[in-house]
Subunit: 374 residues, 4 copies
């Protein structure tokens, strides 16, 4: 048979199994997205449509690959964390990385028209690359995500300042760069506030903190691939307003009215509280199905990041009490919950997240799995 | 600075540079394409639209990555060969594999609507995975592609027989499988001819031999991303007829009129000779720009590179004679040539290809490149 | 300069850094030691000289490479565990493995004449090979060593039974194998006791449990490369008696006089208690410096770290009582202690070891090291 | 069974097979040999005993591992080239590297006393490390060895100059270094000749060119592990004279009597011509069996492979003339030949070697081996 004569070439395939029992982190990056952004008139410094499309694609990846326990996105980059014990594709590196990249790319092109409805597809096919990194312990995993979120903060503060100077301040890009060089965060914050009346802490959390994708309870009838509604606010010093297709109310919307330091709380993007202003109501309607249900989720989570493992039924009711109205129907809702991917924009630097909502991510896994391999 | 405190996590990134000066082969495969084919009613045993979309996506990859010197596709699989000396991404494995997979996936979704015009996008995002294999020498490269093409032949003969039994013979899939088990190629050929009047050697070469993507001269004004026209023939024992969107004349179209063993010649899919029958003329018009110029290419290549097993020298001359006219204006055309990706369906098993059209693929490369690295 | 013209060949060297912050385990094995043992008349089933030479070589490795925190040896095999944070040779795999193997081999040949004084060197150069394995967590490290010690037990029980049948029972090797096949541990134990009057639990611990090399306090004036004294006992059913060069008193020497189940205590090979019989005194003298001080160590360790399976608290006190005197001068001794490599033959399967003497091995390490890399 | 419960730890062992059909090069290096040389009073700039011991150890490696086709040594470093098709240990990297390093180390310690008879073993166990590099083609293999031999030349010329200045010129090491810095080869050559009456080209080839180990015909009764005789000459500007244990006649022994430029020929260390002077006769006797036959080899090779930089054609003829007689009895000798490892000190930079004696090293291998794997 002709086949066997040539099949020896398979001998050149080398095994690329990743070490067992360590976290696998796959990070993907847009290739040539500087040009891609320009070609498609992405808003500066942030384009909420583009970010939401990234989030949608990332959610698709996580919906497909159950062993991803955490996602983090900023700009044209996304990180996916697999649980330690994953045996996806027998942990073959090329298979894992290429599948994640392909899934992401496919969804990005596929859902493009839902975020850029003026064009049914981009001007040319966008490309991402990816790579895997192994992290043995929880400390490194936390520090990895802290690294990416700190990077998000630094880049966004710089970009916000830069584009305020250029677009509002009418400076040349060169002059803006010179002015910003050597300044620290505090100085940039002051400049934004004093020169451009921009309270940096009120800029949408999606820009300041990136997007965090978590596996949590979501309403059973929620479409796991629902289009992600855009932000209500216009971003000072940017063209983001043009990009707003849908409007949605912030989770902690009260903070918008009373500008205090507490506004630095999480903004659950894929969700919204029920106190919608008239201005936003029409837009809200268009995403109503998501709202009804997601608002429930928001309320439950509101006390932020609480993990209620080992908590008595009495304890569990209390947080709901704080947000009295929605909680009134919390019981029936609970029956209709399922595990799903939730998109949020919260702090993942520091203890709070990892001992709270993120606790399940780095929770010890049972060893049994490994042992039963043999 | 917050950044530096966490950046140590980069230390966990390991280098994955591929050995220099060996051929890099990246093979990608559709994931779950059994289901994907069924969901999208792909014709059995071959869907020419789907194959052409694969070819289009593969050509996009090669248009983007200059160092790929050869592509070979069959079914939902594609192989890409990089030249030995490529320094693409410093030969980092994950970067190369993920980029190829992403490019391919992106183009597949992007161009879907051009091959499946009834739907603007598939029912869900398709996914591919990929891997790299290193081949040190020309012998292995040739044997690799021989392995894939032999695989194409074996699978297609089986599938053609199977679906003839099921669709035309009204056998159950189970019964068809039983009947075919243990039969050799000769027996399958006989059965097809005697029971279903199918001359296997006349089935379109794209099905029997897969698709070969080469870097050759193409007309300067040719759109390198032009939609690939479909085949004119209906495939006996299949539903391929439904898939025919465009019609195009075979390179060696005379063989269609005089069914002889010489029909086993190459079918330059992205091209066509100028001797079109009236039936085909309208379709040809729709791809006219490609035709005018590509016909020149066909004529030029015909005499030297055609693989005509068991054909006398006299026979070999004929195809060239048939296309006499276009070759007369070959000189002016030459001025308008550029390097481009050509899609063909020829034998790559055996000496002929590798000493003929494929000679450039395994030609020795200059060492200078390597030495100047330092 | 001629040099630079050729130096490009270094480009073919690939990086082989091992993942940071996981345990590195290097295991070495004798190559062709079946033949090597036969050529040098190693006693069956165990040759204490050969085992001590292995231990000596292993200790040399640990004396040289500070980052090895644990060693385990059995037969012609040795395992070395590096601490998680080791940055030895920047964690380059080939460098680490080859250095360990070379160090071991070098010491094995070098010290041969001290264990086989009849010949100044072996009949031909012995060879070992090695490999590295990564273990991310403490659980796997414990299970790795449990795996090796369980292997030691299984092999030794079989070999002891086999050679008893062959040497004392005058059976053919073939017949002995047949008789043993399918028997479990209990049956082998019974057979040894009933047919050959061998109490398996009294066979020297070095044979039953292998050798464990630990980093602990040793007397400051102790030669870290001192020749390891051999065991006092003759091994029933073996030729080990011939191999005894030095004689040394067991840690829990009382057990020799009163053969009870408590004899299953550790035998600190590199050490001995002070209650030496007249027969042993001369040999003891030759390792006297080690004795005075190490006996102190034994006493100190006895109460806490001894693994005494199925032994009552009353039993546990006894060993300490036996060595009452030396412990009285433990304070002045303490001043003269230093870190060194200690050889012992204790249980490393189970909690006791890893929460006791082995606790330092898997103790959490400070992360600072990693972060300061950048 | 206890064993299986823990055996899952084997899952952490990763495959490390080296790419098939490429040359495997293993290079080993002495660790801390600066100190080791000093501790053992190695002669400066070269110690012929130490080099011969290195060569002996390397020959042991090649005698053990048939798939090594070439060895090259200089100073405390050795390179071993495996043939492309080797399947030694299924090409597992750690196994190959560790075995080569262990074999080498073992032989080095083992044969120490034969080269340093004053001491039966070194002051402490010497250590080597090693690594594998893959080379896909013949060009890189040649350039690799050219790289190492060029390195040998550069280092030796510097060291010879340096130690001449220090030992004969009574300069301080610091002053000698300053004087040499920035000088090229020509200047160093002139200085050696003018200031110290040292004709660099007459320094033994083992120092200038390193040692090449080849697989060639050797006399059937020759001991493949015979002690390598040392050089007869004293090295000007060195203490090598002290190191001479055995005396042996140079290949082109006439050059000893008539010191001319022709002495720059190869010195087949493991061999000697038959025209021995009375002073050398006793030593020669001890390697007599090698002499008869190997002298034949020398004569044959002389004309073709000699690299004689700056030598006129007239000069070149002479060495062949000098050894006319032995070649007359080449036929009977041939009957008693076998394949063995030959040590020589010739040019491996340039065409001559690789098309001559070294041709077998890079000769194409049959592919059959690979294909029959499956």
């Amino acid at each position: 048979m002709a086949k066997s004569k040539y099949e020896y070439v398979r001998e050149f395939e080398t095994e690329d199994k990743l070490l067992p029992n360590v976290f696998i982190l796959v990070r993907i990056d847009g290739k040539g997205f500087h040009k891609f952004s320009a070609e498609h008139d992405f808003a500066k410094p942030n384009d909420v449509r583009a970010l939401n499309l990234m989030n949608h694609a990332a959610r698709s990846v996580m919906n497909e690959l159950d062993d991803i326990v955490l996602g983090f996105g900023e700009s044209d980059e996304y990180s996916f964390l697999f649980r330690k014990s994953t045996d996806l594709y027998q942990r073959r590196e090329a298979k894992i990385v290429s599948t994640v990249v392909s899934l992401f790319t496919s969804a990005y092109v596929y859902y493009w028209r839902d975020y850029f409805p003026d064009s049914s597809r981009p001007k040319y096919p966008p490309v991402f690359d990816g790579r895997a990194v192994l992290y043995p312990s929880e400390v490194e995993v936390r520090d990895y995500f802290a690294w990416r979120q700190a990077d998000t903060h630094i880049n966004n503060l710089f970009n916000t300042s830069f584009w305020a100077l250029v677009e509002q301040g009418k400076m040349s890009p060169r002059a803006a760069e010179v002015k910003l060089s050597g300044t620290d965060s505090k100085q940039k914050n002051s400049m934004l506030f004093e020169e451009f009346d921009i309270n940096y802490s009120k800029i949408p959390a999606i820009f300041r903190k990136g997007s965090i994708l978590l596996r949590e309870q979501i309403p059973k009838d929620m479409d796991k691939d629902a289009i992600i509604p855009t932000l209500p606010e216009t971003l000072p010093g940017s063209m983001v307003a043009k990009a707003t297709l849908f409007t949605v109310i912030e989770n902690s919307s009260s903070s918008l009215d009373t500008p205090s330091e507490t506004t630095d709380s999480e903004n659950v993007i894929a969700a919204s509280s029920s106190s919608s202003s008239s201005l936003q109501s029409s837009a809200v309607a268009s995403v109503s199905s998501a709202q009804d249900t997601l608002s429930v989720k928001s309320t439950q989570d509101t006390p932020q990041e609480q993990e209620l493992d080992g908590v008595t039924p009495e304890d569990r009711k209390r947080p709901a009490d704080d947000t009295k109205e929605p909680s009134s129907d919390s019981k029936p809702v609970f029956k209709r919950m399922k595990k799903g991917v939730v998109i949020d924009h919260i702090d993942i630097i520091g203890e709070k997240f990892w001992t709270g909502r993120g606790a399940y991510i780095i929770a010890p896994e049972k060893k049994k799995r490994m042992r039963t391999i043999l």
